[in-house]
Symmetry: C2
Subunit: 631 residues, 2 copies
């Protein structure tokens, strides 16, 4: 028996909770994916809730304003249950997954089948699906059931030796005798062995592979027809781990004990399970038609997906447990939706902070096959930078922080309805025009909007080259707690609890973030003795790249000042790469070559990195010669 | 709630049972391993029980005498529970496991470590156990935990590529950091991959391998020290499947539905579990010190051990599901005693009736390395014959039937206390002297006793060359139900319920059995165009070979008439071979070569076999020239 009743408004969801349990946890159990960056430390202010009735015990002083306090707002992570309560969850505290916002928006030729074609490859899935007829045993050919199966597979082009699990062998005798030896067989070639993953006697039907990109913030899944290579469905959701910490570091801390680790593992599996359900219902398939999966994610996400403690990733000298993962089965990773024996391939990582999402993205970008000197930048919750071509690859992770996802920025938020995703300055009036996702009044600013804003405030000298607000330049700048902040929207205007502002602290975070990325790029360039101007192609990957204004990103000194036609946006490179590997044994092999090719620069100890970073904490840069096109 | 109470005497065990359940099944659940050959068909008369109070419903007419009926005896397999009853289980109906009878009696040099030495091989177990220290990660060597582990193993002589299950990877990070990188690692080389099976940080302690011979009747286990190669303990028990059928065919029938199959699977696992418990308590080890196993058994036993339906083994054209088994883990086969990841190797079979017990026995006999033309005969519940040398091997299974284990012989029994295991004729008086195992009055006759008896009765012409009792030759011969039978011991003399007799039907069974074995030998010889006299070595394996009188076996025409010094007894060849394979990767490889080398003769359809068989149904043989030394 639980002690108390917690009711959530406006959804009218009620749940029982024991005394002392965190309200954030209760909300999670009630099905809410609450905003949280700090993993329940009471610092990020994201999990605000309104107490409608009853009271809670606070384990710390919540970082909220007196205005918020007056509205009975508090932070769910600090609140402990001590009696029956009724709670209202404000829109901005919940990661309501706006399906429309994440609608698949495929780039031209992004269907893996088409992409393979551009790589001059054919569809040749990692999991081979064959329909065969195994001859009956006779007194002349009285070899075992398994031997006759293997001989038949060999005639179909599979290579010896063959291997099958005991679960497969258990079903073989009756399957062979059910339909005169007719069998659907699924095989995977691992090392020099052909592994028989599945056999059945059902009629022909579409078989799908699942490409997964497990992001720190969002998990994307694509169902891909294994015979045509077409994307049959796409779905995505926020990673349900978010309430346990907004970024990798907070997740690793949360995984510090077994309970936390298991919880994170289950939360990502729940997220995937939900995506899986959407995907199969979209194509009207049954669970067992999804027969293989390629999973890409950063090293921490891959570890948590497998239930492995990622602890060592954040401890000097920052090593993961494993970078090249063994072939797994859905049963090994507790994915009950897929057939137990369905193979799961994990994209190989390079190092703790250059994971399987980056190797998959490079595969999709085709850098490893190109003569062009290419810069690959993944702008996700972390920032990873890769430089190279078919001959060599170098990579680093920029300790950029997730400021572009709204974290560490007072009114920052993810690219959700209500967020400002673009800011344009009228060249005549100098006035700023804001684009709000979904229209209406703004609730906050997302990454691309912050970059635009920084570029324009700097261009109009409201922000100086060091990223400080110049109070004398604009009447909307005020002091609060001795820090300067500029009001973009008044709360009266928006109807929100607070004004929408940009503060000196926010600006400092943004400059540090852009500086870390640019310093990473420069460090890789210097490491191989090249100039920025020699980069022939820049590939931008990651969620917020889609709305990124390249021009503004160069103006603030985040991206190198190159001819604009050298920049391209690849979308979710990780997901695309996972899909390609799923469909092509050759691509899967290349994915591993990429991982092996990459030389990793550990920036935290890299000589010269700190100098690059300090030089980049300037708009656009202390060395103006690097940005000739920026006035 | 069960319906009725069944009490067993003299043990005073009570158990509840539902209406209609077979008394044989109730007895099994009460812990009795009842004698049964027919698998509950009501024909073999082995499962006699005495109704002390209450009544049962009989599903058929039990094949018992009126004297037995008067004593309230009935057959447990035909009896169904309809009310509370009290049952007495006579000694002879229960397979009481006489530990003393199965005491390990090692042949000279049988310790696998010693044997390896005679093969000029060193102890080099299938499972390699290493103690290593993995260097800490540094910023200079910041490869993943797994990569540093692999590099360390490589320096210790293990070969790349390495593979580890997710369960191993999950524990790696903390294990590496527990004791400054010190690790005990267990690896297996499979194909071209080194699989990491286990890692821990415990202190050094003896590690054991389990060699198992799963016989239709008896299961033998040996605990072998993996570093010295010494046998640390040996234990054996009746296969608890026996009440489900005395021979392979009855077991396969019993496994016809999933319930029966699961039951047989669990019964053999229970048997092994009990043996396992005895073994580790004998050496005072913990379960997790037993880290690997090699299992040998005939194809049906191997299938049932894995929970695979052996159905096709008895259906024309007699093929098993698999002959070469994948490497398994204790967890795959539901052996909860051993560590989940402990590797289990199954000895490869050749065909449905030449199983992994035979290949293991050949390995132990070293035939595949010998220039001598060798005949290998396994006299177990089935009779398998192999002929060959290092160049070639041929094999067949004789449908001999288990008459030498007492089945199909009225007073036949296994070699248990109370059984006559040797019969000697006084050359002067012509009188027969009987040796009774354990002394005292006899309860029946076991295989070696039956062979002696047949030889002596034929020598004294009491039995003619066709195996018929000659009533005029001996006053102890009488007619019962129009069939001749000879009284060996009067029930007054023994105190048993019946006289100990040998009948014409018994003699016919024995002649057929010896004829089948000899016909198998002749068929193999003719198949390769050789004469019996060319055989240079005869190896007898199997339980009852130990007490077998070779001279008498030749006199009845079961074994070829060769100089007696060409015969040797190898004991349980299957168990010895399993132990050798466990301790030597080379031997394990050779075991598979043996399985591949063997040409299998399917006698049921072999041209000429029937003629050989008919010719052998004669004492010693229709062609007396084959037995020159037999008068």
């Amino acid at each position: 028996m639980s002690d108390f009743k917690v009711k959530f408004l406006p959804a009218e969801v009620s749940i029982e909770a024991d005394e002392g349990v965190s309200l954030l946890e209760v909300a999670r159990r009630a099905g809410y994916v609450m905003q949280s960056e700090c993993g329940g430390q009471g610092t990020c202010r994201r999990c605000k809730v309104k107490l409608v009735s009853g009271d809670v015990f606070l384990t710390g002083e919540p970082n909220i304003s007196s205005a918020e306090r007056e509205q009975n707002l508090t932070l769910a992570c600090l609140a402990r249950i001590v009696e029956d309560i009724i709670i209202e969850v404000p829109d901005e505290s919940e990661l309501t997954f706006a399906k429309d916002e994440f609608k698949p928006q495929w780039l031209p030729g992004e269907h893996p089948g088409d992409e393979l074609h551009t790589f001059a490859l054919k569809v040749d899935p990692l999991l081979q699906c064959l329909s065969i007829t195994v001859p009956k045993a006779t007194l002349q050919n009285n070899s075992s059931d398994f031997d006759r199966l293997c001989s038949t597979l060999e005639r179909e082009g599979c290579k010896r030796p063959f291997k099958a699990d005991i679960s497969i062998l258990k079903g073989l005798s009756s399957a062979l005798r059910e339909d005169n030896g007719f069998l659907n067989v699924q095989t995977v070639r691992i090392g020099n062995t052909t592994e028989i993953c599945s056999l059945d006697t059902t009629e022909e039907r579409p078989l799908y592979g699942l490409a997964l990109d497990i992001g720190t913030t969002t998990v994307f899944g694509r169902l891909i027809d294994l015979s045509s290579g077409e994307v049959a469905a796409e779905s995505s959701e926020y990673n349900r781990q978010i309430p346990c910490g907004g970024d990798i570091i907070h997740r690793i801390i949360y995984a510090g004990n077994e309970k936390g680790l298991n919880e994170l593992n289950q939360l990502v599996l729940d997220t995937i399970g939900s995506i899986f359900g959407n995907l199969i219902s979209e194509v009207d398939a049954t669970e067992d038609q999804v027969v293989a999966s390629v999973v890409a994610g950063n090293a921490t996400m891959e570890h948590l997906f497998l239930g492995m403690n990622p602890k060592s990733i954040r401890e000097d000298p920052y090593v993961p447990t494993v970078t090249e993962f063994p072939l797994l089965q859905a049963g090994d990773v507790n994915m009950p939706q897929m057939p137990h024996s369905a193979p799961m391939f994990l994209s190989p990582a390079v190092a703790s902070y250059v994971g399987g999402d980056i190797t998959a993205g490079l595969l999709a970008a085709g850098i490893h096959k190109s003569d062009q000197l290419t810069l690959y930048i993944d702008l996700g919750t972390n920032g990873e930078v890769v430089l190279g071509n078919r001959e060599w690859l170098t990579a680093c992770a920029c300790s950029a922080g997730p400021a572009f996802e709204g974290s560490g920025v007072r009114c920052g938020m993810r690219a959700l309805p209500g967020s400002i995703d673009a800011v344009v300055r009228d060249l005549d009036s100098g006035g700023l025009t804001y684009n709000v996702i979904g229209g209406g009044t703004p609730r906050g600013i997302c990454g691309s909007g912050l970059i635009d804003l920084l570029a324009e405030l700097h261009a109009t000298e409201i922000v100086d080259a060091r990223g400080k607000l110049q109070q004398e330049k604009d009447g909307r700048i005020r002091k609060a707690n001795r820090k300067a902040e500029m009001v973009l929207f008044d709360k009266v205007q928006t109807g929100g609890a607070e004004d929408i502002v940009i503060t000196d602290v926010d600006l400092d975070n943004l400059v540090r973030t852009k500086g870390a990325i640019f310093a990473g790029i420069m460090t890789l360039l210097k490491g191989v003795g090249l100039q920025a101007s020699e980069i022939e192609r820049v590939v931008i990957a990651g969620g917020f790249g889609r709305t990124l204004n390249i021009e503004n990103a160069i103006r603030i000194g985040m991206l190198p000042d190159l001819p604009r036609d050298r920049f391209e946006y690849i979308g979710n490179g990780s997901l695309r790469g996972a899909g390609l590997a799923l469909l092509s044994r050759k691509m899967w092999g290349e994915l591993h070559q990429i991982a092996k090719m990459i030389t990793y620069f550990e920036l935290s100890t890299w000589p010269g990195y700190m100098d690059e970073y300090m030089a980049a904490l300037f708009l656009p840069h202390t060395d103006a010669a690097l940005f000739p096109s920026v006035l």
